[in-house]
Amino acid sequence: MAASGGWRQPSILPGFGLTLGFSTFFVSAIVLLPLGALVLRTASMSPADFFATVLAPRALASYRLTFGASLLAALLNAAGGFLIAWTLVRYEFPGRRLVDALIDLPFALPTAVSGIALTAVFAPDGWVGGWLAAQGVQVAYTWSGVVLALTLIGLPFVVRTVQPALVEVARDLEDAAETLGAKPFTIFRRIIFPAVLPALVTGFTLAFARGIGEYGSVIFIAGNLPMRTEITPLLIVIKLEEFDYSGAAALGFMMLLISFVMLLLINTVQAWSRRRLTVGR
């Protein structure tokens, strides 16, 4: 902070007041005021009503699905995303740059489009779904469909955090280990994996957090049966359609609380990986 004890460091650049003022006004109007309305609405509920809503069996079932599927999808992404990042960084093959560019597609593609496309592929009459159905496996309209949609949505998070970390792995250490007689798997386990682990954990957490809030890509493939394949965001939409504003607000408040915890977790993980990286050097 400024030596004079002011709240900002002196600078000769102009426009501080204007740009900060506009930004603060903008986020207050667009984000803080509306979020305040959510908290206010929840606070105006009686504690009994609030807990009856957020602890209702249907709500609890939706948390289980939302969390369980997000966790599973993030784990799948940690494995698959690592494999993809590894392949893209370490190997050359025809079409590598195209594949690399397409990894970001789930970011840019509207979630509703991802949802109907995944459903079309994995429905019992779809390309992959038909083959799976022949093996007696149904993915679409079950909880595994939810996992699948969340895996697609979370994939870029893991690949894009692991990729730079893999590039950074000190290759001279690998060479040294090999010279000293280490087997490839030992090199992977002792040198590559520890160096990439913080990035992998960060990507996993980001994918997990994203999965919890996801709506558009899930509702087409989930089947949306109450107690079985109904995610929490959908339950909020249903409450709103029934004009149960307080019920929707209470569930929204719960999700917001979870988002804050996740945000805190992400920051902690990132601080941990920064520390790990600086110690490692």
Binding site: F16, L102, L105, P106, A112
Partner: protein, 289 residues
């Protein structure tokens, strides 16, 4: 998200190959596994979008755009983007200037708030506006008395879209401007240039590709937003249906060709976004930054 500079990759590949047959076998197993994973999850859905849309020929796919409701959806989506994207761009530039060029108390709080929409479910982004402006909301009665419609109307759709997409330009510009430092701007000011002139002549040329990508990404997300808009729109056909909501309706009515034809349009937009991202990364990479 940072991409991988091609120089790094070339450097890695130039290293002496080791291994022989076992390494080659391992390499192709990994490549095959990775491509299978991506094939089912990413490439097959991408192919199915265009495949279904064009399944009965191009004329059939294009026919959906002659439908009045589809046209209204396309128009509404464009209108929302035309309002939202410039406002978010203005905000992104202002926030990036304040955050990257100055040190002040509460800066990290502002950054956290800018990141908030990434962590919040899109459904909540819509819900908060319903609680504020809906019939039973905070300002509901006041708005009804004055006959002003926000929820189930254009203003609500615009606000919900803004909530979801306002970080994109700022998140793209902040790291870029922080990395480039203040020296050149300070020199311009010292030489007597005004604030606006300094930004347009000194800062803008340095960050223009990042800005372009931020705007394109913001636009793609604004046109494609589903969850938040779904909550505030009311799904009135021909009036408050944006393209993603119209896709949902067509799909639920089993008009798969129509649904995927409209989806193809948004998918093309997403692919263009990725192309521009790749070009931007290539440009900033070739500049040696």
């Amino acid at each position: 998200m940072p991409g991988i500079a091609t120089t790094d990759h070339a450097e890695i590949l130039r290293r002496p190959g080791r291994g022989g047959l076992r390494a080659a076998l391992l390499r192709w197993t990994f490549i095959a596994l990775a491509l299978t994973f991506l094939g089912g999850l990413l490439f097959a859905p991408l192919a199915v979008i265009f495949g279904t849309a064009l399944g009965r020929g191009l004329p059939q796919a294009v026919a959906i755009f002659a439908d009045t409701d589809t046209r209204a959806a396309v128009q509404l989506t464009l209108l929302v983007a035309v309002i939202v994207v410039p406002l978010n761009t203005l905000f992104g530039i202002a926030a990036a200037w304040a955050i990257a060029k100055f040190e002040f108390a509460g800066k990290s709080l502002l950054i956290t708030i800018i990141d908030l929409p990434f962590a919040v479910s899109p459904v909540i982004s819509g819900l908060v506006y319903v609680l504020l402006f809906g019939a039973q909301g905070v300002f509901g009665q006041w708005l009804i008395e004055r006959d002003i419609a926000i929820i189930f109307a254009l203003p609500g759709i615009v606000m919900a879209t803004m909530f979801v997409t306002f970080p994109y330009v700022a998140r793209e510009l902040i790291p870029l401007m922080q990395q480039l430092g203040n020296d050149e701007e300070e020199a311009a000011i010292t030489l007597g240039a005004g604030g606006l002139m300094t930004f347009v002549r000194v800062t803008l040329p340095k960050v223009k590709w990042g800005l372009v990508y931020g705007i394109i990404l913001c636009n793609a997300r604004a046109m494609g937003e589903f969850g938040a808009v779904s909550v505030v729109s009311g799904h009135i056909r021909g009036l408050t249906n944006t393209m993603p909501l119209h896709i949902e309706i067509l799909y639920n009515e089993y008009d798969f060709v129509g649904a995927f034809a409209v989806a193809s349009l948004l998918t093309l937009l997403a692919l263009v976004t990725l192309v521009i991202k790749t070009v931007v990364e290539w440009r900033s990479g070739s500049r040696g930054s």
